[in-house]
Amino acid sequence: MHWLLRRMKHRVLRSPPVMLRVFVLSIVVLAYGATGFLFFEKPSNPELEWNEAIWYAFVTVTTVGYGDFSPATIGGRYLIAIPLMFFGIGLLGYILSLAASALIEARSKEIKGMAKINLIDHLLICNYPNLNTIQRIIKELAADGSFRDRDIVIVDDELEELPAPLHGLKDPEVHFVRGNPSCQETLDQANVMYARDALILSKSEDAMSDARNVVITLAIEDCNSTIRTVTQCVDPSTKEVLKRAHCDGIVCTTQFDVLFLSQEILDPGASSVVAELTSNLKGQQIYVTEWKSQNTSFVNVANGCLNRGHLAIGVRRLGENQLNPPNDFMVRKTDEIITIGPKRLYF
C-alpha cells in the first residue's frame, strides 16, 4: 500500500495528468489573484473582504469582468489584474481546446471502429460486403416496427472507417468496430454478450467466405449462447456445418437465385411476388409469429388471422414448415404461425 502510494506520488509529480495540471493551475491562479487583490487594494478600500477578492479573481479569470470590483492601485493593476487577465485567457482557451479535442477524438475513434460499444439488444452485422447491401438491410429492418430503438454494430476487419452515409443515422443508429469478427477481443469490443442478434454476411470476393462465416458463428455462439445468429452462405453444403455450429438461421442466397430464375420461367411474376412478400418496404409481408395460445385446429387459427387482416398459410414446428396444412391440423402451443399481412401480428 505504502509502495503504491509512493509510486503514485512519484508518477503524479513527474508527469501530472492534463486535467490535474489545469485544476492545480486554476486554483493557484485564483489564490494569487484573490490574495494579491486584497493585499494591494485593502489599504485604499478597507471595506474589501476575502469573499469579494475571490469573486473578483473568478470574474477576471473567466474573462467575464463584471466591473463591480476593480483594482485602483498600481500594484493591484499591474502585478495582479494584468497577469490574471493573461492567465484567464490562456487557461480558458486551453480548457476549451481540451474539451474540443476530447470530443473530436471520441468521434474519430467511433468512426474508425476503435471505441468500445456499450449497447444492449443490438444487432451485430459481421462482415461488410458493400455499402449498398448494408443500406438495404438497414432499410428493411427499419421498416419493421419490432426493430424500433435497436442499434446496429458493423464488425469488419477490412473496412477502414464507417462510410459517410451511415454516420448519424437515427433509428437505427449504426456503429462500427474494426477487427476480425471471429476474434474474442473484437467481439468483446462489440459487446456481443449483450447483443440480441448477429447477422453474418458473405463477401462475394472472398472465396473462403463460408469457412470464415462458420468460424465467426462458432466464436459468437461461444461468447453468447442466447444470441440469435443468422448466417449467409454461398455453398449449400455449408448448411450442415453451420447447423452444427448452433447457427439459428442459415440463408443460402445462391440457392435462392436458382429457385427464383427457374420459378420465373415456369410462373412469370412469381419472383416479384416473393420479393414483395419478403420486403418490409412495400405491400404485404410474410410473418412468422409464435402462437403461445391453446392447442387448436388450423382452421380456427386461420379464421382468427383473417379477422385481423392476415392470411395464415402454414405452421412452423421444430424448424420444419407445414405449408397449407389441412383444416383439422392441430396447432400446438409451441408452434409458429406463418401469415401474410400488412403489419406484424401478435397473438
Binding site: 501530472p16 493557484v28 491562479v29 494569487y32 490574495t35 494579491g36 485593502k42
Partner: protein, 39 residues
C-alpha cells in the same frame, strides 16, 4: 521530468508562494487594528 513539467511546477510554486505572502500580509495588517479596537 521533462521541461514542460518543470515549468508547470515552477509556476505553481511561485504563485503559491506569492499567494501565501499576500495572504499573510493581509492578515498581519488586519491584526494590529483588531487589537487596538479590542483595547
Amino acid at each position: 521530468m521533462d521541461i514542460g513539467t518543470k515549468v508547470f511546477w515552477g509556476i505553481v510554486v511561485v504563485l503559491l508562494a506569492a499567494s501565501i505572502a499576500f495572504g499573510t500580509g493581509v492578515e498581519l495588517r488586519r491584526q494590529p487594528n483588531t487589537t487596538q479596537q479590542a483595547g
